[in-house]
Amino acid sequence: MFQFRPLRLFSAAVLAAVSASPAFAQADFSGHWAPLFHEDHPERLPGPELGDYLGIPLSEAGRLRADSYDADRISVVPEYECRPHAGDYMMRGLSNMRVDAIRDPVTSRLTAFHLRMGFQEMERTIYLDGRPRPSANAPHTWSGFSVGTWQDNVLNAYTTHLKENYIRRNGIPASDKRTFTEHWVRHGNYLTIETVITDPAILTEPLVRSQTWVLDPTQQMGRDICETVPEVPKAADYVPHHLPGTNPFLREVADWYGLPAEATRGGADTMYPEYRKKMGKPANPPPAICVRYCNCGLNGGGCNVQ
């Protein structure tokens, strides 16, 4: 026979209330976000100089791949023309972002954040529902497969199954063996995303970078459709690249900015402040005044590149 027991009912109600809400204050990242470029502006907006590997923990393999890169490839090889940024670089490139919170329609529990980027209309999902990762035989994608977990109000996301892409837009590649971890932190209307890339084929140490965004409720994100068009006639078996030791552009960055050439070759040492003490002297002194990328706007407009 059923007996009404107020205390037990109350306990059940409390338990239900607690379990239906987060155990802590999870940040809400949904909304329109505009990227801020006070960090690494020349690299992210006009684009990095050829041969600038400073601060990248490049392996020998990664360095040769980068040295071999010929920027003609993105126009001569049609399949590269509309290639978008991959999941790790899209958080860094010049792209506005919309984040939608995906909720279970019955429980309203947050199950994912869905991202849409302005550049190339890239989309990405960070799953929060604990779903298993795809198998090793599953396709890799530009965005990869991201699973998020909460640590207080910080969202930690781990991404696998990425396609080959780039770490810098000057030919430093990113292999399809890489993974990356992100830490999403919201401070009022500002969002900071720290990205830690691990690439056993290209990097000798994890590469840590951060990007900051500002909430922009009035942001409009239009279409960004890319159409592949053969632009340059070429032989079918031609791929632009530089043979080892023949890339004529690798010293430009050292000469233009008055940097020791050795430093521009990158490597794990060049990530750390102590490296400045041992990096040696440049062949040319730094310019007295800014001569490159001194007043750049979006997409490099206004850059007084000489």
Binding site: N137, P139, I202, Y238, V239, H241
Partner: protein, 344 residues
């Protein structure tokens, strides 16, 4: 190509010819772990049987592209039976290597009524031999048949040839540049890729499902095995990859669209083939440059021309190591002046 099988090609084919014995001997071994992924529509990819296997199922029955290693035939059949209990009507062999044709003999021994088939029966050599008729068509380019027949052990005194000797052979061979089929409601086009991975490579396009089965022309996480002894060439390999790129149309944001089942490795799309093609072109150019500068093979190997790609394409278990890849390119480029580029 089998990354775990370091055997010369003819010796491997001989091993494939005694498939029944191999099937019997591995009856005590644990079955391989296979995984099936749906690619698109009614086309599936099965991983872990040796070379990757592509399966198309429907009301007409089952079409299988490659049959893996002989030792995996029972497990492969069990995996296929999870997709369809219909009759296996066609096998297409992308080339003649034993990790892609190894299951032919066991499959061709199946009785035509699939209700009588069990994995145990497929793995049982006696059951296979009990049915002298081949209830399915095994299709391949004629060069595959020629090489498989040539690799058969010579007849012993008192031994006769006949159907039993040819069990599992692709006797439904084709010799034209393409072969058209229509099965399970979709057009299927077989393309011969001359002198690529071997001289008998077939790329299979499932036109309705938008899936390409590439065989060992494309191995996204391993250097290609350009089998010069079996008629392969680096120029043909690049031409075949370019042809796959022509067949493939990516979807929105340059991914998806046409999916490509590689000979080994994960499921891929066009962008993955581009990276692979570019790697081969760049390494070829580097080798050619050193040949032009009168470098010897040892000097070229010493220059470690693939050191930037090795971390992506070589593992301790890789079938093709960096030096083997470079040597194949070197030997092919040295002879290319005599033979000329492959023609479709």
């Amino acid at each position: 190509m089998g990354r775990a099988m370091h055997k010369a090609f003819p010796a491997s084919l001989a091993a494939a010819a005694v498939v029944v014995a191999a099937v019997s001997s591995r009856a005590q071994q644990p079955p391989p772990m296979l995984e099936t992924l749906r690619v698109q529509n009614n086309v599936y990819a099965i991983f872990g049987a040796g070379g990757n296997v592509t399966v198309q199922v429907g009301t007409d029955g089952v079409l299988v592209v490659d049959t893996g290693l002989a030792s995996s035939a029972g497990a492969l059949l069990a995996e296929i039976r999870k997709l369809s209990t219909g009759p296996i009507r066609f096998i297409v062999n992308t080339h003649a290597h034993p990790d892609h044709v190894g299951g032919n003999a066991a499959f061709s021994g199946l009785p035509p009524d699939p209700r009588g088939v069990t994995p145990d029966r497929a793995a049982n050599a006696a059951a296979a031999i009990a049915d002298p008729l081949q209830p399915l068509n095994i299709i391949a380019h004629e060069n595959v048949l020629n090489r498989m027949v040539k690799a058969l052990p010579p007849l012993q005194p008192g031994q006769t040839g006949g159907s039993e000797r040819l069990r599992g052979m692709p006797i439904d061979e084709y010799f034209a540049p393409t072969k058209d089929m229509h099965f399970n409601g979709e057009a299927i086009v077989l393309y011969h890729e001359p002198r690529a991975h071997t001289d008998g490579d077939t790329v299979v396009l499932f036109r309705g499902s938008d899936v390409v089965s590439a065989g060992d022309i494309f191995t996204p996480d391993a250097y290609p095995f350009i089998d010069l002894a079996a008629g392969g060439s680096v120029a043909g390999e690049i031409a075949a990859l370019n042809h796959i790129l022509q067949l493939a149309v990516p979807g929105h944001t340059e991914e998806g669209g046409t999916y490509i089942v590689a000979g080994h490795g994960r499921l891929c799309d066009e962008a993955d083939v581009v990276e692979f093609r570019d790697m081969i072109v760049i390494v070829r150019d580097r080798v050619q440059d050193m040949i032009n500068r009168k470098a010897t093979l040892d000097q070229i190997k010493g220059a470690r021309l693939t050191r930037d790609y090795d971390p992506e394409y070589v593992t301790p278990t890789s079938f093709v190591k960096a030096d083997q890849f470079v040597e194949a390119i070197y030997n092919d480029l040295r002879r290319a002046g005599l033979s000329g580029p492959p023609t479709r």
